[in-house]
Amino acid sequence: MSMADQKPTQSFNLGMLIYDTRYRAMTIQVVALILFMLGAAWLVNNAAQNLAALGKPLSFDFLSQPAGYDINQKLIEYTSQDSHGRAALVGLLNTLLVAFLGCVLATFLGVIIGVLRLSKNWLISRLMTVYIESFRNVPVLLWIVFAMAIFIESFPAPRAFRGDNATASMVLNDSVAFTNRGVYIPKLVFDNGSMIVVLVFLASLVGIWLFGRWSRKRQEATGEILPNFWIKLGIFFVPAIAAQLVMGSPISLAYPELKGFNFTGGLHLRNSLIALWLALSLYTAAFIAEAVRAGIMAISKGQTEAAAALGLRSNRIMQLVILPQALRVIIPPLISQYLNLTKNSSLAIAVGYMDITGTLGGITLNQTGREMESVMLLMLIYLAISLAISTVMNIYNNSVSLKER
């Protein structure tokens, strides 16, 4: 602005708002903002007027009224006498559950597939290409419906397990049943004293972390590498099992049993959850694999060669040299894949999985007729979930990003 400083005497006039480049940008922004606010106000006013004309003013009272419908998968206590609000909460937890499971599995598969796609083995890399192209080029809704159809048609119904001439049987020593209603697995039963076993187990997790730190320091100081994996595995299992035996086995397994129409006693992983989880994970894994591949290819070949020259083997090169650098490139697209997966989980109703869209945006909306309120709440909830995910992932991104000194 040295030009401006040289002629300070020029007075301000209105024309300058348009013709003077110093003010023009500001003028345009102010006008645009006013127009935008007018547009928004008109929209809100229009919606409010139309709702009033229909005799349905905006009200959230319905959330405290009894819901009246049942939900099959509930992570918290819920009966049909609870409120619509609680039904929405049950749905929200189901959404979070499938989103969390999906993100974990998609990341795991995506990283492996992305690395394998760069394999020098022609067959493996081509197979991975086929996987990626077929999964990411078919709409995820079709994959979800397809997974469910496979589940329903290929596994036996529970009644096939019954009788002397049963056509299906449980696997793994009669402890797991694969049916077309889902998978029934044994569940843990906690008796008196199981608290101690759980505490011992948590303590051994802390132990593993402490050991890892100590072992790294020792390696940096002496250069010796301990068999870390086996020692950690030992700390993971031995104390907890010892505590379990000492306390007289307070934690036991309850096996599923065919009783009446269904298996009871075990843990029921519903077909809708599994189908949705697998379909979302496999679909998103294809995108993550591409992000991983891009990340690895962004690291110059010189890095690999330099590491090899130091005598590192190829898997260590990947672990110690390539992946840590590639993460910086991988994480930003990974965040958006997590968000996509979470939002895609709203397709759950296609397989009858009661997520937040199925409860608040489905049955509640339909039974109460509060479309506007329900949809607004839904949008807010998804917005909050997405913002939370991206906040957490951005913190992680900052922790691995290049620290310039």
């Binding site: 935008f36 929209l43 919606a47 709702l51 009246g68 099959n72 159809a149 329903i152 048609e153 489905g362």
Partner: protein, 339 residues
């Protein structure tokens, strides 16, 4: 750059909001030249497209009768398939002019959702269908069963109430459309399929081995099904209401598609004359011409003929008239007089 994106969003949202406003439905329908009628996504006998893509069925006949009365053309109907979930939004937003989708008349739908049920064209109740090999003979034996339900229906609430009041537990499997429910039920992914008994009969009729399945004797609810319109447009509500009543009255007075022309020439019965427009001008009172009812009846005959043709005992669905017989035959089908 950012601004243009924002304006795009505003424009898109504005066009959505504009759909809410609507004035005289009759004028709208006449201006469009066609009636937008909400039906199911496909339930044989009630509303389903045939091999040539023409919609037919018991509910479809009501839409066609209204279109014939209003527009003079039974084919001037745009059938909008709706699911249990989308139907009310479609009607409230003005996407459809009337809904004929075996919809139960309830207090909260009438009062809170702001709809007007114009009458009942089928008295129904919720039933259960099970495979015979399950060995169940009563709904009271269904403790612990997995139940497929169409989501977004009164069925869902009745089911919860029934199992709770009988102290039984169950596993609900919510399903969006009838076709998905069939797939799960036939594969044994659910033990029981529950919906209105007429719907169960219609669904069962499409099964390959229909005899392997049975309906349980219990009917656990009252489900008066009928066409409905939005609150607030009384003229349009009257037109749909009295078109339905015309079909019912035609059966009561013995007017059939065979003798319609003969009757329309004039008879000794003044009520027939008023209905068919040879005496007085009932149609003019709600903005139609004199022959509106004659055209409505000409489409598929009277109520009884429509019933027999689509869901009656000689069809695959095979429903008896039962509660849906004329009041003179001990049923509940009763129309107020045309006077």
């Amino acid at each position: 750059m950012k601004n243009s994106v924002i304006f795009g969003t505003v424009a898109a949202a504005a066009s959505l909001a504009a759909g809410l406003a609507s004035a005289g439905t009759l004028d709208d329908v006449k201006a469009k030249g066609e009636l937008a009628c909400g039906v199911t996504t496909g339930l044989v006998g009630f509303a389903a497209p045939d091999a040539n893509g023409n919609w037919e069925g018991f509910d479809v006949a009501v839409c066609r009768a209204v279109a014939a009365a209003v527009l003079g053309d039974a084919n001037a109907v745009k059938f909008v398939p709706t699911t249990g979930k989308t139907r009310f939004t479609a009607l409230a937003s003005g996407e459809i002019d009337m809904l004929a989708r075996n919809t139960t008349w309830t207090f909260s739908r009438d009062v809170d959702l702001k709809f007007t049920f114009v009458g009942v064209n089928y008295y129904d109740g919720q039933g259960f269908m099970v495979p015979k090999e399950l060995g169940v003979s009563s709904a009271k034996e269904l403790d612990g069963a997995t139940v497929c339900i169409q989501t977004g229906t009164t069925t869902e609430l009745n089911l919860a109430d029934y199992f709770r009041s009988n102290g039984m537990s169950y596993e609900p499997v919510p399903i969006e459309t009838n076709a998905e429910a069939q797939q799960q039920f036939l594969a044994g992914a659910c033990d029981v399929f529950t919906t209105d008994a007429s719907g169960l009969a219609a669904t069962r009729a499409t099964f390959e081995n229909a005899d392997d399945y049975m309906l349980l004797p219990e009917i656990i609810s009252k489900e008066p099904l009928g066409p409905l319109v939005r609150h607030g447009d009384e003229q349009w509500g009257d037109i749909v209401r009295w078109t339905l009543n015309a079909l019912i009255t035609a059966e009561e007075l013995g007017i059939t598609s065979a003798n319609l022309e003969e009757m329309a020439a004039g008879t000794n019965n003044p009520e027939i004359n008023r209905l068919l427009g040879t005496e007085g001008d009932l149609g003019g009172m709600f903005g139609l011409d004199k022959e509106w009812a004659k055209r409505a009846i000409a489409v598929g005959g009277n109520y009884g003929e429509i019933f027999e043709k689509n869901i009656g005992e000689n069809t695959a669905i095979g429903l008896a008239r039962g509660l849906n017989a004329q009041w003179k035959q001990g049923g509940l089908i009763y129309s107020p007089p045309f006077r």
